[in-house]
C-alpha cells in the first residue's frame, strides 16, 4: 500500500504492537514451553524384495512428557501416524509423488489388565505390553513394511516422518493442544535414497 495517511499508520502501528505482544505472551506462556516430549526417526532400513517391491523398516525415538503420560494413564488414547512418501524426480527440479502411505498406531492403557495396548489401526491388530516403554517401543518400530511400485517407476527419494495426531484427541483437549507446542510432536521428514 502506498501513501498511508497519518491516522492509518498509527492504527497499523497499534495493531502491529498488539500482535507482537500477543505472540510474545503466547510463546512465553508455560503451556508453550518444551517439557521433554520428543519424536524423531533414528534409523531406516530399506531392502529390495523384488524388482518393484521394497521392504522398509524404521526405528523411531519417542519421549513423552509427564502430561502426555498422565493422559494415557487416564485411559485417553494417543494416536501416532507414520507418513511414508516416495517421490520421483522430474525435470526443472520438480518431483512427483509416486507413493504415499500412512500407518496409524493407537496407544492406550488398559486399567483392568494394567497393560498398554498398541493397536495397528490399519491392519486392525493389537499387542499388549506390561510397561509404557515396551508399548512405546512397539509404536516406535516399523517392521518390514512392503512398498510396491508400478513399472514406470525408476528411481526416487523416500521419506518418512512420525507425528502425534492431535485431531484424534478428545474434543475438550483440542483447543488447549492447538495452543501448546508440547503437543505438536513431529519427527520431521527423514529422507533416504531408494536402492537402484
Amino acid at each position: 500500500m502506498v501513501g498511508l495517511k497519518g491516522r492509518g499508520k498509527r492504527q497499523r502501528s497499534v495493531l502491529l504492537a498488539g500482535t507482537l505482544l500477543f505472540l510474545g505472551f503466547f510463546c512465553c506462556s508455560p503451556s508453550y514451553a518444551l517439557s521433554g516430549s520428543e519424536l524423531s526417526i533414528s534409523e531406516v532400513k530399506v531392502e529390495t524384495k523384488s524388482e518393484r517391491e521394497l521392504e522398509l523398516s524404521a526405528t523411531a525415538h519417542i519421549a513423552m512428557s509427564q502430561e502426555q503420560m498422565e493422559i494415557i494413564y487416564n485411559g485417553i488414547p494417543l494416536t501416532f501416524i507414520y507418513e511414508i512418501r516416495v517421490k520421483e524426480p522430474k525435470p526443472l527440479g520438480f518431483k512427483r509423488t509416486r507413493l504415499e502411505e500412512r500407518l496409524r498406531y493407537q496407544l492406550k492403557y488398559h486399567a483392568l489388565s494394567k497393560q498398554f495396548i498398541v493397536k495397528d489401526l490399519v491392519k486392525k491388530r493389537q499387542t499388549s505390553h506390561p510397561t509404557l516403554s515396551l508399548a512405546l517401543g512397539e509404536v516406535a518400530k516399523v517392521r518390514k513394511k512392503r512398498l510396491k511400485f508400478d513399472e514406470s517407476f525408476e528411481k526416487g527419494e523416500g521419506s518418512i516422518r512420525l507425528w502425534l495426531d492431535i485431531e484424534a484427541l478428545p474434543a475438550p483437549l483440542r483447543i488447549p493442544t492447538y495452543l501448546s507446542k508440547n503437543w505438536h510432536l513431529n519427527s520431521g521428514w527423514f529422507y533416504w535414497e531408494l536402492p537402484q
Binding site: L112, P130, P172
Partner: protein, 717 residues
C-alpha cells in the same frame, strides 16, 4: 457491502442460524470424548470465521448508525435510541444468564469428581482386578505343573506330551522354547494356528533371569486371556501358556474397566472440559448479544423507517413539495398514520393548487394594475393614514423630478423637512387631505418652478377604503398640465394676434393714407401755424400707424401657423454670423462667443433659428442698455451636452428679472424692459418648441443679469 446495506437481515439471520448449529454441534461433541472428534476442528474454524463475519456486520451497522447520528440524518437519533433500548433490554438478561450459568457449570463439573467417587471407582477396579487375580494365580500354578512335566522330556516326547498336557490343564495355547528362545514345541486349541506367538525378547530375557511373566491380556474383540511365561525348574526350557478367562468374568471386568476408564477420562479432562464448556457458553452468550444487537438494529430500523419516511415527507411538504406521498406497506397503526398522512398531503396539494391559482390571478391583476400605473402619464401615489407613501408609479417620479428612493421611508407628517422639490407638493397635499377629511374640495392646482421651468400640476385626492368601508389611506392622482395651459394660452394669444392682424391691420393703411393725403392736400393751403400743426399731427399719425403696423406684424408673426423649412444647420457657424452683427454694433458692451470646436449639426429652420438668436441677443443688449451702466457683458455659449443636445446659453449683466415675473416671461406682452413689446421671448419659446427643444430662464433678481438656456436636439451622426 451493498448486500449488508440493502438486505442485511437475511445474511444476519443465515449466519446466526449456522452459528447456532455449529455451537450445538460443538456442545454435542463435548458430551463424549470420542464423538465428532474429526469435525471439531472444522467446527471451530467455521465458528471463528462466521463469528468474525457477524461481528463485522454488527460493527458495520453500529458504525453506520453512529455516522448517521453525527451527520444528524433524519431518524438516526430515534433509531439509535430504540436500538439501545431494545439491545439493553436483551443484553442485560443475557449477561445475567451467562454469569449464573458459568458459576453453575463450574460448580456442577467440580461436583462430578469428589474423593468418594474416586475411591469408589478405584475400589471397583481393584475388585475386578482381584477377581481376575485368582485366575492369574491359578494359571501360574498350572503352568508350573506343566513346566515340571516337560523339563525332562525328549524332543520327540515333548511334541506328543504337550498336546495331552494342554488338554489336561485346559489351556488355550502352550508353547515351549529353549533357553535361547528357539521354538521346541507347541499345542493350540485353535487348529488354524500353526505358528505360535513368540514372546518379546525383553520378556524372554527377563523370564530366563528368573522373573515369571503372568499377565492378563486384553484381546481386540473385548475378551481377555492370561499369558504365563516361566522357565522350567532346571532352566533349560521356557513355557508360554495362554488361558481363557470365563466370559462372565470378562464381561464384568470389561464393564468395570469401561466405567472406570470413562470416569478417569472425564476426570483428566475436567479442566479442559470446564474451559471448553465455559468457552462454549461464552460463545453462545456472545452470539446471543450479537443477535440481540443485530435484532435490535433491524427491529429499530423497521420501526423507525416509516417514521423517517413520514418525517422526510413532512419536511418536503414544509418546503412546498406537495407531490410527496408514502407507500403504505403495513396495515398496523403506522400504516394507518401513513394513509392519513397521504390523504392530508392530497388535501394540502389541492388547497395549495387553489392558493397558487388565486395567487397567480392576484399577481396577474397586480401586474395588470402595475402596467396601467406604469403607462399612466398621470402620477399616482397611495398614501396610508400615517402619511407614508405605499405605492407610486413611474410617472409620479418623472412629474416630480425625483428618484424612487426619495419616497422611501418618507411620510407627509414626518418631522424632517422633505426635499425642496417636494416641499410645495407635500404642503398642497396635506391641505388637500385635510379638505378631503372634511368632505371639501378634492382637487387643487400648484405651479412650481423647476430649474427655471414652469410646471403646473393638478392634484386630485380621493379616499381609499377597505372591504369593510374603513378609511385606510388616500389615493393621489396628479398631472402636469403646463403644456395644456400653455397651449390654451398660446391658442388664445394666437387668436388675439389673428384678430389684431385682421381687425387692426386693415384700417391702418387707410388711416395712414388718409393722414398722408391730408398732409398733402393741406400743404400750402393753410396758414403757417396750421400747416405746422397739420404736418406734426399727420406725421404723428403716420408714425403711430407704422408703429402699430410693426406691432401687428409682430403679433401676426407670433400667431402664424408654424411652417418650417428644415435643413441641416451648423450652429457654431450660424451663431458666429449672428453674433458678429452684435459684436460690431454694440458699444460699451463686452461680448463673448464661446463655441464648440467640433461641428454642432441640428435639423432646423434657418430663418427661425436666426430669429431665435437675434431675439435673445437683442433682449440681452437691451437689458444691459436699460440698466444704464457701462461695462456690461453679453455672452453666447454653445456646448454639446452628453444627452446629444446642444446647449445654447445667452447671458447678460442687464436689469435681470424679478422672481415673480420669471414664470410669466414667455407669455406675450410680458417684459422686464420698459421698451419691450413682450413678444420676443414668446416667439423664442415657440421656435424652441417647434424644434423639439426646451427653454429656461434664470435670474437672481433685479440688476443681477439674466441667463436664457436653450436645449436643442443635435442631429445624430
Amino acid at each position: 457491502m451493498k448486500l449488508l446495506k440493502k438486505n442485511g437481515l437475511l445474511p444476519f439471520l443465515g449466519v446466526s442460524l449456522i452459528l447456532v448449529v455449529i455451537l450445538g454441534l460443538m456442545a454435542r461433541s463435548l458430551e463424549s470424548v470420542a464423538l465428532y472428534t474429526k469435525t471439531y476442528t472444522w467446527l471451530v474454524i467455521a465458528g471463528v470465521v462466521l463469528f468474525g463475519f457477524l461481528l463485522f456486520q454488527i460493527l458495520y451497522y453500529l458504525l453506520q448508525l453512529f455516522m448517521s447520528v453525527r451527520k444528524k440524518r433524519v431518524g438516526a437519533k430515534l433509531n439509535a435510541r430504540m436500538m439501545l433500548f431494545f439491545s439493553g433490554l436483551s443484553i442485560l438478561p443475557i449477561v445475567l444468564f451467562f454469569i449464573f450459568s458459568s458459576a453453575l457449570l463450574t460448580r456442577s463439573i467440580d461436583s462430578w469428581f469428589d474423593e468418594s467417587l474416586d475411591k469408589g471407582f478405584d475400589d471397583a477396579l481393584s475388585l475386578a482386578q482381584a477377581a481376575l487375580e485368582t485366575r492369574r494365580i491359578d494359571a501360574l500354578q498350572i503352568t508350573e505343573y506343566v513346566a515340571n512335566r516337560v523339563q525332562n522330556l525328549s524332543y520327540l516326547d515333548l511334541a506328543y506330551e504337550i498336546e495331552n498336557l494342554r488338554t489336561e490343564v485346559n489351556a488355550m495355547d502352550i508353547s515351549i522354547f529353549d533357553q535361547h528362545g528357539r521354538f521346541l514345541a507347541a499345542s493350540s486349541k485353535d487348529f488354524k494356528k500353526i505358528i505360535p506367538e513368540k514372546p518379546d525378547n525383553v520378556i524372554l530375557m527377563s523370564v530366563m533371569q528368573g522373573t515369571d511373566y503372568v499377565w492378563l491380556e486384553p484381546l481386540k474383540d473385548g475378551d481377555m486371556r492370561v499369558r504365563v511365561i516361566i522357565k522350567t525348574p532346571d532352566s533349560s526350557r521356557v513355557i508360554q501358556a495362554f488361558y481363557e478367562i470365563p466370559p462372565y468374568y470378562t464381561a464384568l471386568g470389561e464393564s468395570t474397566q469401561e466405567s472406570v476408564e470413562k470416569y478417569k477420562q472425564y476426570k483428566a479432562l475436567r479442566k479442559p472440559l470446564k474451559d471448553n464448556m465455559l468457552f462454549l457458553l461464552s460463545m453462545v452468550t456472545f452470539l446471543a448479544i450479537l443477535m440481540a444487537l443485530g435484532g435490535s438494529f433491524f427491529a429499530a430500523r423497521r420501526l423507525v423507517t416509516p417514521i423517517t419516511r413520514l418525517s422526510l415527507a413532512t419536511k418536503s411538504i414544509s418546503e412546498g413539495h406537495f407531490y410527496k406521498t408514502i407507500r403504505v406497506k403495513s396495515k398496523d397503526e403506522i400504516g394507518f398514520l401513513t394513509k392519513s398522512f397521504n390523504e392530508m398531503v392530497l388535501k394540502l396539494r389541492d388547497s395549495h393548487r387553489a392558493e397558487q391559482e388565486s395567487q397567480h390571478l392576484l399577481e396577474a391583476q397586480r401586474a395588470y394594475l402595475a402596467t396601467i400605473l406604469a403607462n399612466l402619464s398621470s402620477g399616482v401615489l397611495v398614501i396610508n393614514r400615517q402619511g407614508s407613501i405605499r405605492t407610486f408609479n413611474e410617472a409620479s417620479l418623472l412629474l416630480l423630478g425625483i428618484e424612487a428612493d426619495a419616497f422611501t421611508a418618507l411620510s407627509l407628517y414626518s418631522e424632517g423637512e422633505p426635499k425642496p422639490k417636494l416641499q410645495q407638493f407635500f404642503e398642497t397635499l396635506k391641505e388637500l387631505i385635510e379638505k378631503v377629511e372634511k368632505n371639501a374640495s378634492q382637487r387643487s392646482e400648484i405651479t412650481r418652478n423647476i430649474a427655471g421651468k414652469l410646471q403646473i400640476l393638478t392634484i386630485r385626492v380621493s379616499e381609499q377604503r377597505n372591504v369593510e368601508g374603513a378609511l385606510i389611506g388616500y389615493i393621489v392622482v396628479f398631472d402636469d398640465i403646463t403644456q395644456l395651459i400653455n397651449s390654451e394660452r398660446e391658442a388664445a394669444w394666437g387668436e388675439v394676434a389673428r384678430r389684431l392682424a385682421h381687425e387692426i391691420k386693415n384700417p391702418l393703411t387707410p388711416i395712414q393714407l388718409s393722414a398722408e393725403r391730408l398732409q398733402f392736400k393741406l400743404a400750402g393751403k393753410v396758414d403757417e401755424k396750421s400747416s405746422e400743426l397739420v404736418e406734426k399731427s399727420t406725421s404723428t399719425i403716420i408714425a403711430q400707424v407704422n408703429a402699430m403696423k410693426e406691432m401687428v406684424n409682430a403679433f401676426s408673426q407670433y400667431a402664424r401657423a408654424p411652417k418650417l423649412n428644415l435643413t441641416q444647420i451648423e450652429m457654431n457657424q450660424l451663431a458666429e454670423e449672428i453674433f458678429y452683427l452684435y459684436d460690431e454694433s454694440t458699444e460699451g458692451i463686452e461680448t463673448e462667443l464661446n463655441r464648440e470646436s467640433e461641428p454642432l449639426w441640428v435639423i432646423g429652420d434657418d430663418i427661425r433659428l436666426r430669429q431665435l438668436l437675434h431675439n435673445l441677443l437683442k433682449n440681452g443688449v437691451e437689458a444691459i442698455e436699460e440698466r444704464g451702466e457701462r461695462g456690461g457683458k453679453l455672452s453666447l455659449t454653445l456646448t454639446k451636452e452628453a444627452s446629444q443636445q446642444l446647449k445654447l446659453v445667452v447671458a447678460d449683466t442687464g436689469i435681470g428679472v424679478e422672481a415673480d415675473k420669471l414664470q410669466k416671461m414667455y407669455e406675450p406682452y410680458v417684459s422686464s424692459k420698459v421698451k419691450g413689446s413682450g413678444l420676443g421671448l414668446a416667439v423664442v419659446k415657440k421656435i424652441v418648441e417647434e424644434h423639439n427643444g426646451s427653454i429656461a430662464i434664470h435670474s437672481e433678481g433685479q440688476n443681477q443679469g439674466t441667463q436664457v438656456e436653450v436645449l436643442l436636439p443635435l442631429q445624430r451622426v
